[in-house]
Symmetry: C2
Subunit: 203 residues, 2 copies
């Protein structure tokens, strides 16, 4: 196998970009919208970027679209080492966070120092949901799986036996912080699905 | 199957985002970097966005990173209808362009009119390589498959029986317009692969 090993800064940047390719092999709890297979975290991140472009004007935070886009492209890279922790799963949050911090150290540490520091700061900001851009980006990250599950007839809501109360606590509450009107637009279909009739398989 | 059908503008935007999901099922000529499977156009678009973030400072055009990022997120959507036309394949360019124009009409036409017009204009600009942002974005789109092929031992260069002259004409010439220093950094490994010894399978 011929690797890519030119001198700095290209060597560092190109090795980081090659390593990032592995995000295409990290599988999530949700499926693609036709339900045919699990979604991977790279294509998921692309979809979120498209959501941010299309839904940006509904953001209630004073968000800079370019920063939010960057965050969404970067936000799942740590899953290369730490794996995906499905929002409705029962992972240990402290352990998962420790794994993700170690992954961020390793991955952003592959880049030339200034750039690694800048991109790591953007990832930290996203993780902390500590700014208008991060709140918007987090809303986008929460709303896309709701649509995936509605489109494929339940998806991870069935697999993880999710209740509407848990959806409210872990998902809707986050969407409302950044994209309340989008949540209101989706709510009737969500409530319908969680109603006793909604979960019954189609005839 | 429960669809998503709230009123305008959400209905239009959410239906567009659901339709866009199909890009995850469009397979390209190249593989992911470990060679284990074909790459799909959605995860490819994510990877290009990351390339643009990481390599932006090497752009020789006066490119606006936010516009280039948007272009890269949008640029392959037309493949949902038109399919991927591999750069080393022998498709009819006029026919492929007609298919892509029809696809752009349909897909961007799903959005509220102002937004559809804006995003379509960005896609047209990318296709025409008619601006600094588009030249940078096109360079990124050409350089990532070179790295994929180097990483997996040849990939689509073997499948399409590519010569270094064809690579120069269809790929390197485009990379040089936007990211000449990145091409120079990759060139020794590329020339090595295309040398008589380089193509020999590893012992
Ligand atoms: Ca492309």
């Amino acid at each position: 196998r011929k690797g890519v090993s030119p001198p700095q800064p290209f060597g560092a940047r190109l090795r980081f970009l090659a390593e990032a390719d592995r995000l295409k092999t990290v599988l999530r709890g949700t499926t693609i919208f036709d339900g045919s297979r699990r979604e991977n975290s790279a294509e998921h991140s692309w979809h979120l970027a498209l959501y941010a472009i299309v839904l940006g004007e509904h953001s209630v935070t004073d968000s800079d679209p370019a920063r939010a886009l960057k965050m969404l492209i970067l936000h799942d890279l740590v899953e290369i080492d730490a794996g995906d922790a499905p929002v409705h799963g029962n992972h240990d949050p402290a352990l998962q966070e420790a794994k993700e911090q170690a992954a961020a150290d390793r991955l952003f540490g592959m880049l030339p120092e200034d750039q690694g520091t800048n991109l790591r700061a953007l990832w930290d900001e996203f993780e902390a949901a500590a700014s208008d851009d991060a709140i918007f980006a987090k809303s986008v990250d929460r709303v896309q799986p709701v649509m995936a599950n509605l489109e494929c007839g339940g998806g991870s809501w069935i697999e993880y036996d999710v209740t509407i109360d848990r959806l409210e606590a872990r998902v809707a509450s986050k969407i409302r912080l950044g994209l309340p009107a989008v949540w209101e637009a989706l709510r009737p279909a969500v409530e319908d699905w969680f109603s006793p009739e909604g979960k019954a398989p189609a005839e």
